[in-house]
Subunit: 221 residues, 2 copies
């Protein structure tokens, strides 16, 4: 089928560009994290709190992906870190080429940690390597427990899962035991942080982990 | 660009099949609703409560779209209505051809109202007509207020917006005034229902509206 062949070709080209991006990230000695979730799980709010928690200990930059608006980029800019907006003009995911071009515009800044906030979507972004070191997927407890089994690819490839809106858990049917079981089945090594971008709960542990990973990356390259 | 041309062609073919689907729905005198949302907004839970609320007053059938699982179809089956599962095998939206084939397997049932539950995704499903009479989009108050401006296409084309998890609103920053402003700008005629699939709040008003629309469709065809 034409559709499948074309997708295979597009993915092949994307992976080549992703490898180039990764090489450039290595050359600058920075850790690049592809941050993904459903719309409204709280990616940008988590980034805001993370930047506050890391408070100048390392140099952070952000690439923001969104269909049309720059709302998220403006929120990040208010936190005082370099940020660049990619508008996909309706496309449902970031690809390596978009990220490569955006990185050119931001690479003059010195940085140890680059967050790439993907388009809000649990399906399409999972297929596209951007050149990142690792992927972090946010899930909100308000979304229910069945997301892991229904959207397995994005959770399989994640190094970290951030369980957000943990302050709301008592008002929902979300089960942490069920989450652990489902993740153990498809991605037993994944690291899980329970956070609330609203109250700040759990952000420190996640920020600590980021500092360790940044240090590890710097000794590696 | 190859990608754009191919998409145009695929959409053109999709629209032809969508028109055929619509003709078949008209011939059976049924109202078809394309139900869309982010993952975890509560489409299936709303369907469960809606089927209960309509309690045999009309004949309902459901086409369930999901990447891999049949979890949602099993939940609907437990409510005693005919249901058929479409697994998109990783694809991020339903298309008219999938729905046409699924409808063949369910069309022997007599029905007045057909729900087509789309894949959880605010981006890609908005582009694909399925032959439906109208679209209903679910948004949960836990997702925040910026979804309308960030994913405008899906909300522009909706006849109904169901604001779900309204029982959680006091624990979130969600503003109904902001929602009304944003919808008024892009889709002033949209009908909004405030519901909780968990407590049942607001489901009766939505069910009443469905009965009116089903009656209107039957007098029209």
């Amino acid at each position: 089928m034409v559709k499948v062949n074309l997708q295979t070709k597009l993915l092949g080209a994307n992976e080549l560009i992703a490898m180039q991006n990764h090489k450039r990230f290595d050359e600058q000695g920075l850790l690049a994290i592809n941050l993904m979730s459903s719309p409204g799980s709280g990616k940008t709010s988590i980034l805001e709190k993370t930047i506050e928690a890391l408070g100048g200990k390392i140099q952070i930059a952000v690439i923001e992906g969104d269909l049309y608006t720059d709302q998220d980029a403006r929120r990040i800019e208010n936190k005082g870190v370099p940020v660049i907006q990619i508008n996909t003009d309706g496309a449902c995911h970031l690809d390596a080429s978009m990220v490569g071009k955006a990185f050119e515009d931001i690479s003059a800044h010195s940085m140890n940690l680059l967050f790439i906030e993907n388009v809000g979507n649990l399906v399409c972004p999972a297929e596209f390597e951007l050149g990142e070191d690792c992927r972090a997927v946010v899930i909100s407890v308000a979304e229910g427990n069945d997301k892991i089994t229904k959207y397995p690819l994005i959770f399989q490839r994640a190094k970290v899962v951030l369980v957000n809106k943990i302050d709301l858990i008592e008002y929902t049917d979300f089960s942490i035991e069920q989450l652990k079981e489902d993740l153990a089945r498809i991605n037993p090594d994944v690291r899980v942080f329970y956070v609330s971008a609203r109250t700040g709960q759990g952000i420190d542990a996640w920020a600590e982990w980021l500092l360790e990973e940044v240090a590890r990356k710097r000794t590696k390259v």
